[in-house]
Assembly symmetry: C2
Homo-oligomer: 373 residues x 2
C-alpha cells in the first residue's frame, strides 16, 4: 500500500473511522483501523464488535495511488498523528516487516502494523429496499428520545431505542420506566414486513455525531440481528438488542382531566430555578399546583430554604391539579420541544404526565409523577 493524500482529507475520514474504535477494548485488534487501498479509493474500517464503521475516500480525493494493499494499524495513534501533522500532503507507505511509514516534509513516523488477517471480516451487506429517512429527521428522532433510555443493564431491552415500523408509520420509543419519549413519523414508502427492533443507545450516540444536520438521505438496512445505516460518507453497522420491548401503547391516554398550556421558556426557567432547591437523593422532586390562570412550582430543602415560582397558564381544560415530579426529568423532556407553547396534560396526581406541543403531534413525552404522601 502506498499513496499520497492531503492531511485534511484523510483527517475528515479518520474522524468517522475513529468512532468505531473503542477506547476501552482489551482486544488489541479492535483498537485498530483497517486501510484498504483499491483503484477506486481508500476504505477505512473499524469495529468493536457492537459497532462497525466503514468510510470511503474516492480516488479523485487522493493525490496519488502508487500501489494497492491493505494494512491494519492502531486507530488512536494514526488518528492523533494525522491530526497533529501540518496541512500538507502526507505519504503513507507500507514497508517490510509490516510497518507503516507516515511522512511529510519534516516529520516521519513509523507505526507497527497488525496482521491483516486477524482483523474481523465484517460484511456491510445491504437489503434490497432500505428504509430511507433524511438526516435531519434521524437526528431529531435520536435527540428527542434517547435521553430517556435506561442505563440499568438489568433490563437490557430498555437500554436501547425501540423502532417499530408498520406500513409507512415509524414509531420510536425510549423509556427507563420512570419516563418515556415517543416520536412518530411517516415514511415516504410502505414497508412490506413489519419491523420491531431495539437499537443500542451507544450506537445512536455515535451515529448522530457522524450525520450532518441537512436534508440528505440516510438508508436503514435492517436485518435479523443488526442494522446498517448508510449515508453518503459512512456505513455504520450496529448490533441489535435481543429481547422483547414492553408494549407502551396503552400508557398514553386519549383524554385528560387537566390540560395546562404554558410558554415553553418561562416554564423551563421556572423548573430550572425550582430545581436549585432539590436533592438528587430525593429524585429532584418539585411540586406543581395549578389554579385558574397560574401555576405555582415549589420545592424546598428544609435546612437550606424554599422557592416558589409563578407561571402564567392558558387553560384549555382545567381541573385544578397538585402533582409532584422530578425536575430533572421534566427539564430533559421540555428541551426536546421546539415551539413557543407546550401542553402539560394530567389525569390526577398519580397517573403519568404527558407533555406535548400543539403545533407538532409527532412527539410525546411522558413522566411518571412522584407520590409524596
Amino acid at each position: 500500500m502506498k499513496l499520497k493524500i492531503k492531511q485534511n482529507v484523510l483527517m475528515n475520514y479518520l474522524n468517522y473511522a475513529i468512532r468505531g474504535v473503542s477506547s476501552k477494548n482489551l482486544i488489541p485488534i479492535l483498537n485498530c483501523i483497517k486501510f484498504e487501498l483499491t483503484n477506486e479509493g481508500l476504505y477505512l474500517i473499524s469495529t468493536d464488535n457492537e459497532i462497525s464503521i466503514k468510510t470511503f475516500i474516492s480516488s479523485n480525493k487522493i493525490e496519488k495511488i502508487e500501489s494497492l494493499g491493505e494494512i491494519v494499524v492502531s486507530g488512536r495513534f494514526i488518528y492523533d498523528i494525522v491530526k497533529k501533522l501540518p496541512g500538507e500532503i502526507i505519504d503513507l507507505e507500507e514497508v517490510m516487516d509490516s510497518k507503516l511509514y507516515i511522512t511529510t516534509k519534516n516529520s516521519s513516523f513509523t507505526l507497527n502494523c497488525n496482521e491483516v488477517n486477524d482483523f474481523p471480516n465484517i460484511k456491510f451487506e445491504e437489503v434490497e429496499e432500505p428504509i430511507i429517512i433524511n438526516n435531519k429527521m434521524i437526528r431529531n428522532i435520536i435527540n428527542e428520545t434517547i435521553f430517556a433510555t435506561s442505563t440499568q443493564e438489568s433490563r437490557p431491552a430498555l437500554t436501547g431505542l425501540n423502532m417499530k415500523i408498520e406500513n409507512n408509520k415509524m414509531e420510536c420509543t425510549a423509556t427507563d420506566s420512570f419516563r418515556l419519549a415517543k416520536k412518530m413519523i411517516e415514511l415516504d414508502k410502505t414497508v412490506e414486513n413489519n419491523i420491531n427492533i431495539i437499537i443500542p443507545t451507544r450506537s445512536l450516540n455515535e451515529l448522530i455525531k457522524m450525520v450532518e444536520d441537512n436534508d440528505e438521505k440516510i438508508e436503514l438496512h435492517i436485518f435479523e440481528n443488526k442494522v446498517l445505516f448508510k449515508s453518503e460518507n459512512i456505513m455504520l453497522i450496529s448490533s441489535l438488542i435481543n429481547g422483547t420491548y414492553p408494549d407502551t401503547s396503552k400508557l398514553i391516554p386519549e383524554s385528560f382531566e387537566t390540560i395546562l398550556s404554558v410558554n415553553l421558556n418561562d416554564y423551563f426557567n421556572a423548573i430550572d430555578r425550582a430545581s436549585l432547591l432539590t436533592n438528587e437523593s430525593d429524585k429532584n422532586t418539585i411540586v406543581l399546583e395549578s389554579n385558574k390562570d397560574e401555576a405555582i412550582i415549589s420545592s424546598n430543602i428544609p435546612e437550606i430554604g424554599n422557592v416558589k415560582e409563578n407561571i402564567k397558564i392558558n387553560n384549555s381544560k382545567s381541573e385544578e391539579i397538585k402533582i409532584a415530579f422530578s425536575s430533572k426529568y421534566m427539564m430533559d423532556a421540555i428541551k426536546t420541544f421546539n415551539s413557543d407553547e407546550i401542553e402539560l396534560c394530567f389525569n390526577g396526581d398519580i397517573k403519568p404526565i404527558i407533555i406535548r406541543s400543539k403545533e407538532d403531534n409527532s412527539l410525546i413525552q411522558l413522566i411518571v409523577p412522584i407520590r409524596t404522601y
Copy 2:
C-alpha cells in the same frame, strides 16, 4: 438588610465573592458569603481561611437601599439562584428568624441564614506604601511561572511562587525541582525593605481569574504572614507559605556551549508530535540531536513505533548536542514565550537546558534533562 439591585450587577460581584468559597469546606460558615449593606454600598465577603475576598458594590450601582444590615448566607445557593434569575431587579430582604427573601416578579426564594457573629472577622488591612504593578503584568507573571510549581506537599515551599523584591527589582520563581520558571521585572518604585515571600499557587490561580487583562493597577500589600491584592473591584488576601525558598540563583549559567535558535511554532509542533510516541510512565522522554543547521527530535514506544522530526536551526553558537528531556515540560515552557524565535541553551547533556527569548530577557525557563544511559 433590605435593598433592590439589578440581577446583572449583583451577579458581576458574586462572581468575585464565590471564588473565596471553597466547595470542599467542611466548616459550614466558610461556605457562606457575608453581605454588609452600608450607606456607601454593599460589601460581599468570603473566606476559606487560606484565601479571603472582599468586593464592593457602591450605592450608585444599587437601585434602592431600604435598610442597612448584615447577613451571612450559603455562597453556592445565593450564587446559583441569582445566576438563574431573569435580568430584572431583585429584591433582597432579611426577615425574622434570620431568613433572606430573594424575589423577582415571578420568583420567590427563602434562604436560611447563618449567624453573622460566627463569620470570621477578617481584617483587610493595608500597608502605607504598597507595591504597584499593572494587571497585565501580574497576569503575565502568573501565567509564565506557576505551572512549574510543585504539587507535592512533602516540600511545601515548592507548592508556591517565590516573590523576591530588592530595590526596584522583582523576581518571581516557581520550581518543582525538575523544571524552573523565572520572571524578572522592574518596579516603578524602590522598596525600603527587601521582600522574600512564597504565595500559594491556588491563591494566584484564583487571583488571575479576577484580574482583567488591562493596564489598570493592582496593589500588593505584603505582611509577615499574608499578602493583600487590591484592585478596583476586589481585595484578595492570601496566606503565605512558611519556610525558606531554595536559592535558585546559581542554577542559571552565565554562558553556554551550545545555543540553538529555533522558530517557536515549528519547534513546538515538532515536540508536540514527537510526544505522541512517549509514555507518561517514561516521563514523556524525547531526544533532541543537533548537527550543523538542523535538529532531529525523536522518540519511540517500542511496541507501537517511532518518530523523527526535523527542525531548522539558526545556530548562534554550536557544539553538537544530543540530549533527552520531558516533552511535556518542554511544551509547558515554550508556551510561555510570545516571540517568533526562541533560544535553546545547553552545557552538555546533563546540565539544565535554558529556554529564553532574544527579544525579551525578563523570562527564563529551565528544564533538567533526563539521563537515558
